[in-house]
Amino acid sequence: MSHCPENKDAPLPVKSRGKSLLLSLPMLAITASMLAGRGAFATNGSTFAYFASLFFLNFMFYKMVRTGKTDKYRAIVFITLAGAAAFSFMSFFLELRGAFGVTPSEIMRGEVPACHMVLPMLFLPALFSKTIVFPGLITGGFASIAVLTVFWAAATLTIGKGYCSWFCFLGGFEDGFSRIFKSPVIKRIRPDLRLLPFAVLLTAVLTSAYTLTHTYCEWVCPYKMVTEFEQVVSLKLLVQSAIFIFTFSLLVVALPLLTRLRTQCAFFCPFGAMQTLAGKLAPFEIRIDTEKCSRCGKCLTECPDFSLDKDSLERGKPHISCHLCGKCVDLCPDKAIFFHIKGTSLKTDLEAQRIFFLYPAFTFLAGITGMNLQQALLRIINFFA
């Protein structure tokens, strides 16, 4: 247990209102233009949904800037957007096809909306057989493979593994469940479990290349539970459905509750493993000032990704799996953990470096996944109208 003082009550705010507003204005402009997509002002309802989403998201960004706290507000947005995404997807599919499940017709016609989880399984077949092993649209329509690839590449080159705490709304479910209990029921976790996502990634990539299908999505992905899944029309699909209900219940709900960790992300997700490797290309990282750090251990117990241990405190950086959520940065009583731009000095401009990170990270969080909040609000308004 930590012997450090809780720093949740550390003196706030760290910036004046005027300066915080000024620093937040460019984000308002970015999100205002990104959320003003197709049909944003078509009806009174959609206009309301647009402005309500814009206000909520930008208020959270303003609070991040003003208070110096990152994860506290990121988590609120992230978890809200996860719920909004699930609600808007499922109600959209229900409206579209009268059922949640993807139909065999949609698979044959290649009309299944793509999800970033499938990307690691696409690369080898695309390279060697020039085919996409997913029954979606390559371009055009809703959530095409080309658009997802562009979003992924852009996010990877800017925020790297931060993708998992700022862009992948699926992680929001675990983030939410892992915060419900104050202390973990399961405390001892084998460190070598950190390697498991790489094994899952390798298995998914190789089996997908061998079968020319998206094996992980078909057989294991827990998040089918909150996005879409195939209609059960055969025994094989019944078995697949039982598996995804089990993996969701275990990895996304039960274990995050019991461990206070994002267990699916930390120990299973093949996309997360790919991001760990690809994220090396991004300019941002988390660093620890080993001189300032008093070894209180608070960050070790609070990191939701199992990315910090005693070694990290000596090395001055978390494990490569760190998804830059900023929880440790918020909690460190010595201000010894911080967002850092690779190559720059570890001693200067720490707040400037955090703001530099927040801009791209929040752009992906709010500017793109924020659309799910708009959609969800609009659906609720339309339901009651």
Partner: protein, 179 residues
Amino acid sequence: MTTLKEKIKQAAGYAWAAAAFAAALAALSSHEGIGRGIAATGLRISPVFSGGELARTINRKGYSVFIHRPVFDALLREKKEGFVQVDWGPAEALPARLSETLDLDGDGRAESILELETAGPEVKLRTEDCRVGPAEKPLLVEKARTVRLYQEPEPPSGPADMKKITVRITLRKSCAAVK
């Protein structure tokens, strides 16, 4: 004291972060153009899902039979066992009972007869060729729902705007591949 080298590293770090963000914003705002570029590389949806490119169309009275090329696709070499997809459409114009003599491998010789009730789920395949069969249950494929902004090089599964009945029939490269 900050040395010149440190100052340069500092500036380069910030420049990298700013450039990455600018590039991301540019990519996000032109994602449709980039998407078109990706489509132009000739990538297509795996025939395991789409059924493969259309090989032949037979026109009957009021409806057509679409025979796709045999799909033996694998990552590097072809598989020994694959399938051929056959579609009948438009579904609204089909007679109650279909009986089709088919040349699945495209060698110019019909080797199988497929019979099915268009209202029912059963299908009967008659063939003397040990490379052919069985046939999967027929599937009613609805019209495409998505408006395709940029059409992929090959329309998946024949005409997209048509409701059709689809059957996939197993085809092997040789009788030696029969399990």
